[in-house]
Amino acid sequence: MPELDEIIHQPVRLRLMAALVAIKSGESAEFTLLRDMLGVTDGNLGAHLHRLEEAGYIAIEKKFVDRKPRSFISATEAGRKVFRNQVAALEQIIRGSTGGKGRK
């Protein structure tokens, strides 16, 4: 039975993962695109990205675009799997079959 993952359950991180999983594997989205999409500050997004990167759910790649450094973020396979499990767990809670219990 899928369990809730506390790391990505945080609202911004969950929306971030949802956005990244919507991109095909191997593709990545630029930092400012995600910042604008989520409506968060640079610092806030940076902290959430750091947390997700530490957990191995995302990968951050620095590239030079127009001679400026830019960060491109993608969901890792582990991150995609955790996200799928999270969605499955949420759907089970909605159906009332899990009792809302998840991993601490």
Binding site: H9, R15, L16, A19, A29, M37, G100
Partner: protein, 189 residues
């Protein structure tokens, strides 16, 4: 950690919203604007072609040249801007592939040497559709289905409606491209 079903529903709604938002952005980055631009150019250009006898060569050729130049510039600017938002491992190859297709198209035209305007335009269209099909396989699968659908319709028009083929290219070819671009922009493509 425990959450209620209503909290879970709210969370799922925010997930769907984020996914939808990203799909729409991806649609815009996946060639939607470029497809719409060329769709509009084809609607105008081929409508002029259909009435070339009445309009004369200049009134057909000049708009085509202007629209092609403007279209290429607009597409290049859009691709450049979108390339800043997403990174695709195939991005450089996609641009290079377009140049290769144009080169092979020119070489092919020298040897095959089509003289019928309908054949020439169908060949150009097929080359664009082949490129779009490859884009579909590499980048966004919906582009492959769009390419196959438009190609099928164009071949149908070539054989079944020879007298109205340019109008067919304008309405079916250009119209399908505009509709497909809008579909990609909506995030459903």
């Amino acid at each position: 950690m425990e959450i209620s079903p209503s909290e879970a529903e709210k969370t799922m709604a925010s997930i769907r919203e984020a996914e939808d938002q990203m799909r729409k952005t991806l649609g815009a980055s996946g060639g939607a604007y470029q497809i719409i631009i060329w769709g509009v150019i084809m609607v105008i250009g081929y409508t002029l072609n259909q009435f070339a006898d009445k309009l004369g060569v200049v009134l057909v050729a000049v708009p085509w040249i202007v629209m092609s130049v403007v279209g290429n510039i607009l597409c290049a600017v859009i691709s450049f801007r979108m390339g800043r938002k997403f990174h695709h491992p195939m991005a450089a190859r996609i641009g290079f592939l377009w140049a290769v297709f144009v080169l092979f198209g020119l070489i092919g035209a020298i040897f095959i040497h089509p003289t019928d305007p309908r054949e020439i335009n169908l060949l150009i269209y097929l080359l664009v559709m082949l490129w779009l099909a490859v884009m579909g396989l590499w980048v966004r699968l919906p582009l492959l289905w769009i390419s196959l659908a438009v190609t099928g319709l164009l071949v149908f028009g070539y054989f079944v409606l020879p007298d109205y083929f340019f109008l067919w290219l304008a309405i079916v070819g250009g119209g399908t491209m505009i509709g497909s671009g809008l579909l990609l922009l909506s995030g459903r493509g």
